[in-house]
Symmetry: C2
Subunit: 210 residues, 2 copies
Amino acid sequence: MSTDTEGDGPTTRIQREKHEIILEAALDVFANHGFRGATIDQIAEAAGMSKPNLLYYFRSKEDIHQTLIARLLDNWLAPLRHMSADGDPLEEILDYVRRKIDMARDFPRESRLFANEILQGAPRIMDMLAGPLNELVREKTTIISQWMAEGKLAKADPYHLIFSIWATTQHYADFDVQVRVVLPPEHSGEERFEEAKAFLESMFTRTLTP
Amino acid sequence: MSTDTEGDGPTTRIQREKHEIILEAALDVFANHGFRGATIDQIAEAAGMSKPNLLYYFRSKEDIHQTLIARLLDNWLAPLRHMSADGDPLEEILDYVRRKIDMARDFPRESRLFANEILQGAPRIMDMLAGPLNELVREKTTIISQWMAEGKLAKADPYHLIFSIWATTQHYADFDVQVRVVLPPEHSGEERFEEAKAFLESMFTRTLTP
DNA sequence: CTAACATTTTTCCAATCGGTCAAAAATTCT
DNA sequence: AGAATTTTTGACCGATTGGAAAAATGTTAG
């Protein structure tokens, strides 16, 4: 029978492998061309198989994309979830910044996939934004506000603080091409992520130190 | 349809008007769907004309897009160009931040057009990035470094400072959907730009005050 | 009015798109 | 081994795409 039914039914070794290969290839293509810009042929070629063969494993282009997005969202919120009310306030936030920079370095395609989705109006993830993300942010901004009220952090709008963390960190993945072209040659190696980390640590420390 | 007014130029008047209408419509479509995701039919419909009629004014979809990009780049670099070595260092930078936020509010489609282009690897504006933009940034980072060396600003990497300004300000245009969904209802009106401005002024002031 | 020109519409086309289907090939099961 | 099942392929389809051609419709100058 076909394997593209939803449930985690009996999947063979080949099926699991091919699914992985396809998703890996699709991540590459979707991240660089967006949903509309990507073609099944492109993904199939990147995955080393024919288009009908790919469609044997996934019902449709949407199906692949949705699977990719669903996987992404888990890891995407992890760093923010990790922020704990029990830790040292500044250190918790700096940790969050560092983790996000690491993600921009280690998973740039995932970041661009997400960025593409938001840019196009987030049609496929609006529920997640309005639901889990909204709630998570509300929860964490509450913690941050608490810290500020207790004098452990300088007062600032916690929502815009989070936006600025998202923006600055994801920028190094989403606008990587621009960053690399603009940076002078002696800084355009992989060390730009460590430089960014240092800069952002300093910026947010100054911003949040009471 | 057509016509009104007599013309000063034999053929230029109507053409200029239609060109404007088309570019305005195309900006809307390109910003929301990307280059590949946009169709000539969509643009034509938004411009209130038929596809062949649109193609009478522009040779191709690329032609429209390139015209749009070329126009954008002028205004895009204007705020950074405006930064002067003669002004008060901190105030020059805060001015830049404010102008960029204003642009995110007043020209979000242009920002998303640009973001789309960079996300896709900047194939059509690589020359501009590697040329004029690179040089402009080099020029301004030199000024900033000078200010820091003179003790007028706290020391920080000027390139990453500029990146953080780009990222935080453009975020409010490019990720507008997310920003609106995440912000609590009482903050999701148009005042979010003023809040952002206040937050970013504070952040960059703290970051750059010696 | 009419000729010259500018604009618009109608019709069409080749390429590409996402996706189907039946049959071949490979694999697994007994 | 052979049967049953899974995987792969090739041939094909309808819809959409960017775009061309040319006729039809204004518009304007003489």
